[in-house]
């Protein structure tokens, strides 16, 4: 299947390739620095050369995603460095987790090498990757806002959102009790949108919002769980998160519990940069194949003891 796609290189690729050519960069950098000074010409020249050196030594990747992956033989995947059990740095200093294993299987299926990068989450979700990365198998929920800057070729698992509180919490028994409370969410996460009553997942009916005036506390999710474990209301009253990460945190911290029914089912998608439909097709077909032959189910059972990839499609 991979070869089949190879035979038809992306048509939309060419204009992008020209736009980001290395020569273009030199011009821009030169122009930026040029207007400085008559007397200090030498100084300015040195500065220009220094800047150019730095600019040109940087990897400049051009062209559409599929072409790039095809030519380099490498697929650049971005994910989160601390989102256990989906992606984290393990005892051997290697990135590990469900997302990492899925990425490995994906790259193996394409017959290319896998390269992982772990930039800040905001960097990933803000889109405009400019060819830095090819794919993000990173437990992202397909919200409306993200769809403006990113493309979601395929769903790969579904895990519900849940409400977690401290085990000594007596007041909050379900999501209806969080009005006016301090609720932790991952920064830039779909759960933040949910608390702000602004979650729109394309193709999914909007969830109910039986609460008002919630104080959303965005932060690193694992730090939030740690804060919640300090006691009910010490720093946080509750956390809205994915069921799998909540379970992992409860197993590690022992003092937390999930309350109430699941809040809403949340699909998680594979993410690509906008503008390369052929790459998106390759990605979705590869994932379909991995689902069909049980590869995804196997990885899911390894990490969660159950198959969360079933209703992903």
């Amino acid at each position: 299947m991979w070869l089949e796609v190879y035979r038809s290189p992306g048509i939309g690729a060419m204009p992008i390739a020209h736009k980001h050519s290395p020569t273009g960069n030199q011009c821009v950098a030169g122009r930026l620095v040029k207007p400085a000074g008559v007397e200090s010409n030498t100084a300015v020249n040195i500065l220009t050369i220094l800047l150019l050196l730095v600019v040109c030594s940087a990897p400049v990747r051009a062209g559409a995603t599929l072409d790039r992956v095809k030519h380099s033989g490498i697929v650049n995947d971005v994910l989160f460095n601390s989102y256990p059990p989906f992606s984290f740095i393990d005892a051997d200093n290697q990135l590990a987790g469900f997302d990492v294993d899925v990425a490995r299987a994906f790259a193996a299926r394409l017959g290319v090498a896998l390269k992982l990068a772990t930039p800040g989450w905001e960097t990933i979700v803000s889109g405009r990757w400019q060819g830095r990365w090819d794919i993000c198998i990173c437990s992202m929920s397909p919200t409306d806002e993200r769809a403006k800057v990113l493309s979601f070729p395929v769903r790969y698992y579904s895990s519900p959102a849940v409400l977690t509180v401290h085990q000594n919490e007596t007041y909050i028994k379900s999501i209806a009790d969080i009005s006016g409370k301090r609720v932790g969410v991952g920064v830039g996460s779909s759960y933040e949108n949910y608390l702000n009553k602004a979650l729109v997942i394309p193709g999914v009916a909007p969830p109910a919002y039986p609460f008002h005036d919630v104080i959303a506390i965005p932060g690193d999710e694992t730090v939030n769980f740690r804060n919640l474990a300090l006691g009910p209301g010490v720093r946080l009253d509750a956390i809205v998160s994915d069921l799998a990460t909540a379970r992992a945190s409860i197993a590690a911290l022992h003092t937390l519990k999930i309350v109430g029914p699941v809040l809403y089912a949340e699909p998680n998608v594979v993410v690509t940069e906008k503008g390369d439909p052929e790459w998106d097709l390759t990605v979705s077909r590869t994932f379909d194949a991995m689902r069909a032959d049980g590869t995804l189910a196997g990885i899911s059972k390894k990490w969660f003891g159950q198959d969360i990839t079933l209703d992903g499609h």
């Binding site: 273009g24 000074g37 600019v55 990135l95 930039p119 400019q130 590690a252």
Partner: protein, 284 residues
């Protein structure tokens, strides 16, 4: 060389160094300092002990934090990457700062304007914002920089702006008489800069510049925003993935501190080297 006047008024002014003869003798000063340090270190260790840290976990992660091993994709990581980023940025910051300082001292309005504009812009905006702008905004005009290049540029430009002020003040603090005397002796311009003004300015520049570089060492952790596996990034990743915050944060803090001490020692050496002339004048 400092050019001394025949009845060296300036030399006597400079001679009022802390080691001057009028000071009362400091008995066992050094011993008392070491003793105080020892007490403070013991107190700090006692405080850390109270946190009930799991030191076996720290030992397990130490090779990675120190960067003795490479990252999964074969790049340097941990403290080694931190030192690398700081060292390279230091070099570029020094180059940029020197140019900017000269621009600020220049009589050319354009050079002066560019230098002041740059210094104002980069001193007046947060480093974190600069890092993200260079990493995220430049691609929109066609310059796609790698994470490492972006970090190096942001750190160099930011600290270059601060350092420029330090260098400028150092140069300006050298008495004008020194340059005038050198000119009267008929020394060429580059000799005056290299042998008269430069060394005397350096003596004044080194202490604040050293402080800036120590600060830069710690600010280099901002490049973790772009996914570089430097010391702070690793410490936080391990901490979050395993819920062992205190162990990892304290280990990282200690490594940063040790690195800073190395920087301070280098600064001390340089200070002594360039303070030789003044120290010699200070003796009776």
């Amino acid at each position: 060389m400092a050019i001394e006047a025949p009845h060296g008024a300036s030399a006597h002014e400079l001679a009022a160094a802390p080691t001057g003869e009028r000071d009362p003798p400091r008995r066992y000063f050094r011993e008392k300092v070491w003793l105080t340090w020892a007490v403070l270190v013991v107190l700090l260790c006692g405080g850390c002990y109270e946190l009930h840290l799991d030191f076996t976990y720290v030992a397990l992660k130490l090779p990675f934090l120190l960067g003795i091993r490479l990252s999964p994709d074969g790049f340097i990581q941990g403290a080694v990457l931190t030192v690398f980023v700081t060292g390279v940025s230091m070099f570029f910051a020094l180059s940029v700062a020197l140019l900017t300082a000269l621009g600020r001292l220049s009589k050319n309005p354009l050079a002066f304007a560019v230098a002041t504009f740059y210094a104002s812009l980069f001193r007046g905006t947060p480093l974190m914002v600069q890092v993200l702008i260079i990493y995220l905004a430049l691609p929109q005009i066609g310059i796609v920089l790698g994470a490492l290049s972006s970090g190096l540029i942001a750190l160099s430009l930011n600290y270059g702006a601060y350092l420029a002020e330090t260098i400028r003040s150092g140069i300006m603090a050298v008495p004008a008489g020194q340059r005038e005397a050198a000119m009267a002796l008929g020394l060429p311009r580059w000799v005056i800069a290299w042998k008269v003004t430069g060394p005397q300015a350096l003596r004044l520049i080194i202490p604040p510049a050293g402080a800036l570089f120590v600060s830069m060492l710690k600010d280099s952790s901002l490049v973790s925003l772009m996914g570089l596996w430097e010391l702070n990034f690793l410490a936080q990743s391990y901490a979050r993935s395993t819920y062992r915050y205190m162990e990892m944060l304290i280990a990282a803090a200690l490594i940063y501190w040790l690195l800073s001490i190395v920087f301070e020692l280098i600064q001390f050496r340089l200070e002594r080297r360039f303070g030789r002339g003044v120290a010699a004048l200070g003796r009776p």
